[in-house]
């Protein structure tokens, strides 16, 4: 039983340490603020929870272990709140989670192709719109001038849809 407990404690301490180091590496290596927040979240939950659990198992049941559990629960609830607040304030002050990323060459080529296609589509749409507008103008000319605007709008909406 003693053996088992010490093994369990050691394993959870190791897991917690691994989570901490992985989170810290992510904090250094990841490219942008919001992905770094993701890495810190890993540290704050998995790392703290596993290390506290390891110490709890090591200690057994006593006043110290109750205090450790208090620390663990407090951190488990407050760290995500603090991280969320950081993200919220950053977002409100103008940082966007979506930033242009330098892509690998293949992806860039594909993006160029799709952009060309989109441009061709745009030209086709413009032509279609012009035709529709001309048609609308033709029909509106026959009616009263007050309904001209609404008719034009309607047809424009239809062609867009």
């Amino acid at each position: 039983m003693e053996m088992l407990l010490s093994w369990l404690s050691g394993i959870s301490l190791l897991l917690g340490t691994a989570a901490l180091i992985v989170g810290a590496l992510g904090l250094v290596r990841l490219p942008n603020l919001f992905s770094r927040i993701h890495a810190v979240g890993m540290m704050d939950t998995a790392g703290v929870a596993f290390i506290t659990l390891g110490m709890l198992i090591h200690e057994g049941f006593s006043l110290i272990s109750v205090k450790l559990a208090v620390v663990g629960v407090f951190l488990f609830f407050t760290s995500p709140i603090a991280t969320h607040a950081v993200a919220q304030v950053a977002h409100r002050s103008g940082f966007s989670p979506v930033t242009p990323v330098k892509e690998p060459r293949r992806a860039q080529k594909a993006a160029k192709k799709s952009a060309k296609k989109a441009a061709a589509k745009k030209v086709a749409k413009k032509v279609a719109k012009k035709v529709a507008k001309k048609a609308a103008a033709g029909t509106a000319a026959g009616k009263k001038t007050s309904t001209k605007k609404t008719v034009g709008k309607k047809t424009a909406g239809k062609t867009r849809a």
Binding site: V40, V48, H58, F74, T83, A85
Partner: protein, 100 residues
């Protein structure tokens, strides 16, 4: 034994977080790193107590947890409103109506 390994891991993670705090291009990066360092210090104090055979150090780590939480929010409030007071550093423009 594992306690010592975890303590060393905390130290390594702290150094990495310190690198980010020194490098971080935005204040939010620095704040994030400092918050992570605070969490690591809490864990480190508790682990140190266990390693040295004085687990009463857990009391201190409870205190550090509370301070870390409040400190992060104070800095965030300073960022978002420009002050730490009731109205976030801005003078009251209109007389406040009594609420509740």
């Amino acid at each position: 034994m594992m306690m010592v390994v975890a303590f060393a891991g905390c130290g390594v993670a702290m150094v990495l977080a310190l690198v980010r705090a020194a490098k971080g291009p935005t204040p939010f990066d620095r704040l994030l790193a400092v918050n992570a360092i605070g969490t690591l210090v809490i864990l480190g104090i508790a682990l140190h107590g266990f390693i040295m055979g004085r687990p009463e150090f857990v009391d201190i780590s409870i205190l550090y947890a509370v301070i870390n939480f409040i400190g992060t929010f104070a800095i965030l409030k300073l960022f978002s409103t420009g002050g730490l007071g009731d109205r976030g550093g801005k003078a009251r423009v209109t007389p406040e109506t009594d609420e509740g």
